[in-house]
């Protein structure tokens, strides 16, 4: 296995000419469990979009050891899914097999045990034929985790996966995150709950548009670092000068 799962080299990501992530460098080790923490607008989600390839860096490079994009399992913030679409939980979860089946490969009876096992693992057995529109927020998140399970990817990216989710569901899903870590998968999760990060995530990347600190969670989340992160310039400024490093 390569020495790094994700390598950031002087990465600047942004919208228009305004950087949301500014000159970030660092490496994420394979098999590590990393939390990305920072204030609102710090560029956490943007950074994940950069890793997935949905956003091209304005400058710098993001290199993945996993290579092809199908080997990433990515869970964006919940809002982007069309809950009104008439599709069952079973079919939604089965989409996780895309990586191994692609566009045209069949998904048939032989896959049923795997799909049902994934649905059972997130505690949704019995909900298979329900339309996704009938699920609560927590149940929907469970279904999406089941899809992640089926994706069976070495690199898993989660963006605020526990927002507006109750304690029981959070605990269950956090158990899956630990299981992925035990299976030596690389997991990177954007989180805002500092206590959860301290409790579960060995490594942390603290960003506030620029990298504030990256390493062992206990070291990174010291008060002086958190204070520095809070001092981030809040808004994009149309009159900002051109960055000297650009």
């Amino acid at each position: 296995m390569a020495a790094t799962a994700i390598r950031f080299e002087n990465v600047t990501l942004g919208y228009g000419r305004h950087p949301a992530v500014h000159h970030l460098a660092g490496e994420i080790a394979p098999g590590s469990l990393t939390a990305i923490v920072g204030p609102n607008g710090a560029g956490k989600s943007t950074l994940l979009k950069g890793v997935v390839g949905a956003l091209k860096p304005l400058q710098g490079r993001i290199t993945l050891s996993t290579g092809a994009r199908t080997r990433i399992a990515y869970l964006p913030q919940a809002s982007e899914l069309d809950r009104a679409f008439p599709i069952s939980i079973y079919d939604l979860v089965a989409m996780g097999l895309w990586g191994s089946r692609g566009l045209f490969g069949g998904i048939g009876r032989a896959d049923r045990p795997r799909i049902e096992a994934a649905i059972a693992a997130v505690g949704l057995s019995g909900f298979e034929s329900r339309a996704i529109g009938t699920l609560s927020g927590g149940q929907m998140q469970r279904a999406l985790f089941a899809r992640l399970l089926l994706q069976d990817a070495p690199l898993i990216l989660l963006d605020e996966p526990f927002t507006a989710i109750d304690a029981k569901t959070t605990a269950d899903l956090l158990g899956l995150v630990r299981r992925w870590h035990d299976e030596d998968r690389t997991v990177v999760t954007v989180l805002h709950d500092i206590e959860m990060v301290r409790g579960t995530f060995p490594r942390t990347m603290l960003i506030a548009r620029e990298l504030v600190a990256h390493g062992e969670t206990d070291v990174v989340l010291r008060p002086e670092n958190l204070l520095e992160a809070r001092r981030m310039v809040e808004a994009a400024n149309d009159r900002a000068p051109i960055c000297a490093q650009a």
Binding site: V52, A54, T70, I72, L81, D82, F85, P86, A131, I132
Partner: protein, 289 residues
Amino acid sequence: MIYEALLAPFVEFEFMRRALVGALALALAAGPIGVFLMLRRMSLTGDAMAHAILPGAAIGFLVSGLWLPALTLGGFVAGVAVALASGLVTRLTRLGEDASLAAFYLVSLALGVTIVSMRGSNVDLMHVLFGTVLALDDGALLLIGAIATVTLGALALMYRPLVLECVDPVFLGSVSRAGGVVHLAFLVLVVANLVGGFQALGTLLAVGLMMLPAASARFWARDVTGMIAVATAVGMASGAVGLLLSYHWELPAGPAIILVAGGAYLVSLLVGPERGLLRLAFPGRHLEA
């Protein structure tokens, strides 16, 4: 009696048989296309694209008269061009897709009517706007049949990414680059079917056989597969019933077909089991869980 009402018109008159075959073939492909347009919240996009076909067909008319290949090619090129242009404007500027499509189709409609009027008569204009389902020749039938065949094959091939692109485009983007291609291919299919429908129903009504059956299906079926089946059935039935009504009561055939589809929509809206109005008004007593 039943024979007189339902079968005799088709047995006795060849133009009725041709119209029936054309309408059935159109409905076969328009059903699934309409369902996907509806589920992608693109119902009005289909409408706008139908108008966008007009100037292309009109230029074809200007060059060649009512010669099928020229009308078809012109309409197809114009439809795809407007779809691409409005998509590009949406992506590059701040104008939303609805606004940019509206802008393009209004210009297209005005341009098309102007071009047809420059050379043709009002009869020609009516022909282009409302079609001539009772005068389908071999070429038109072959075209409609070919478009239906290609459409069904293509939809079968891209069914999975198409569904996924509707439900969760971000997920599709994270596992595959197929999203953009699928979207484009789908738009091309929409235009192709509108061009096929245009022969029979004209630019203004061609969308009717897509959207009305699809909207009806939403009230009957819970999942995509069911909706496609219902939409196709409603479309085909509308074609047959509309032709019969037009024959017995001497109504214009194209509008009669669309009116029947409209009737099917109203009935579905009223009594459909999936949140039809009656079901909403009388939901029954609530359950234990």
